[in-house]
Amino acid sequence: MANLNLTLKVWRQENAQAQGRIETYKATNIPDEASFLEMLDIVNEGLVHEGKEPIHFDHDCREGICGMCSLTINGVPHGGKHVTTCQLHMRQFKDGDTIWIEPFRAKAFPLLRDLMVDRTALDNIIAAGGFVDIRTGSAPNANNVPIRKKTADAAFDAAACIGCGACVASCKNSSAMLFTSAKAAHLNLLPQGQPEKNKRVLAMVQQMDALGFGNCTNQYECEAACPKGITVDNIAKLNRDYMIACASEAVGVYS
């Protein structure tokens, strides 16, 4: 097992108001089977040992399902390997590499400290309509609710979104369209989501716009950066559903 010696360029910022800056750290003797966050843990242990403030970063489950870890690595959220930062391993890097580590950046994601940002804006989009109001009961028996296999698959793929915000951080316009469209599509595709479909689409889009996210320019950076493989087909569906919702509301067609 080869151990790596790396140079880290890390964004440090004491609090939301402070002026941030890039600081350089040496990460020495990093085992290549360590995850990216474990590498930062090793660096932090060294910093604590020297009596310095460790680098603050978000993390929770460390198994790629909670969506808490972030980090923009060399300009790409989660490092661009289709996994979350916690699942990114140091074997992806070479000995002597310089790695730039920055927070997920967007005006809608205010920075809290160092590499931690506040992603409450995404929760606010969910709160606007990403739910089903009525009680749908516990999981139904298989085949009790008729639904086409391909539709169920599409809904499941959209539901794989863990809400990490990499789509927003990678977008050249800081647009939250991939997140919003995945959350809307996941319910809009299923029978349980049908009664509130138009209301949901209008409310979620309105909330997304109000929170100060940018507008999608169809560059598909989000899809490339997404650790869960959410496709921009969901964005096309949201555009389609939005047109239908507006038209239905305007002329009073209620389905």
Partner: protein, 223 residues
């Protein structure tokens, strides 16, 4: 009625609604481009040998023999479409700019150069459009269109500007055409490569044919 107005207001102020308007006006401008190109191609009819009117002259006089109200309705309609397209895009772009905080180390995964320079190429096309209208529409004589175009393109600077502007148009159209399908919700993972091919083919054919005119004038094929 109230519902229609409130929904329409919400639509034209929302991100998706404005993007759809940009896509629809862009589609109209693409159709204009095709029509304009078809008209331009009459220049290859050349001068008639008996000293009669050339194809492009009869095309130009034909356009001008339209009733004045119709001609101006089309012109003002096109201008309105163009202004909606440009105006909304600039507003959306400004919002995008303010929504973003920049990275010290910028990374790009798959955004094409064309998609990242849409505003730049758009402004270039807009500037060219002003010059193009001034040179050929407002200072041209429809009865001697052929010689007027020939004289214009025999100036290498004029031809060079035209070719650069059309190259910008290619970049703009290359992203724009496939973007229309996505914004109008007609895109899926399966059909996306086809839209990409359509966008590139459309750009190559339309822009290639536009560029063929100054190239043929400069090389003496049209004289």
């Amino acid at each position: 009625m109230n519902d229609i107005i409130t929904t329409a207001c919400k639509f034209v102020t929302s991100s998706i609604g404005r993007k759809i308007l940009v896509a629809l006006t862009g589609m109209c401008l693409l159709l204009f481009l095709v029509g304009h190109l078809a008209g331009n191609m009459t220049i290859f009819g050349g001068l008639s040998p008996e000293g009669g009117t050339s194809w492009i002259d009869s095309y130009a006089t034909g356009l001008h023999s339209m009733p004045a109200w119709l001609l101006w309705a089309i012109r003002l309609g096109l201008l309105a479409i163009l202004l909606v397209h440009v105006g909304l895009t600039l507003i959306l772009k400004y919002e995008n700019y303010t929504a973003r905080t920049h990275y010290q180390m910028e990374g790009t995964l798959k955004a094409t150069l064309a998609s990242r320079t849409m505003v730049l190429t758009g402004v270039m096309i807009f500037a060219f459009l002003g010059f193009h209208l001034w040179q050929l529409t407002f200072n041209g004589d429809p009865h001697d269109c052929y010689h007027h175009i020939l004289a214009a393109f025999q100036n290498p600077w004029c031809s060079a500007f035209y070719i650069v502007a059309i190259c910008c148009l290619f970049m703009h159209v290359r992203h724009g055409v496939q973007s229309i399908f996505q914004t109008l919700g007609l895109n899926t993972r399966k059909i996306r490569p086809l839209y990409n091919i359509i966008a590139i083919l459309f750009g190559v054919v339309v822009c290639g044919l536009f560029i063929s005119i100054p190239v043929c004038v400069l090389t003496g094929i049209l004289h």
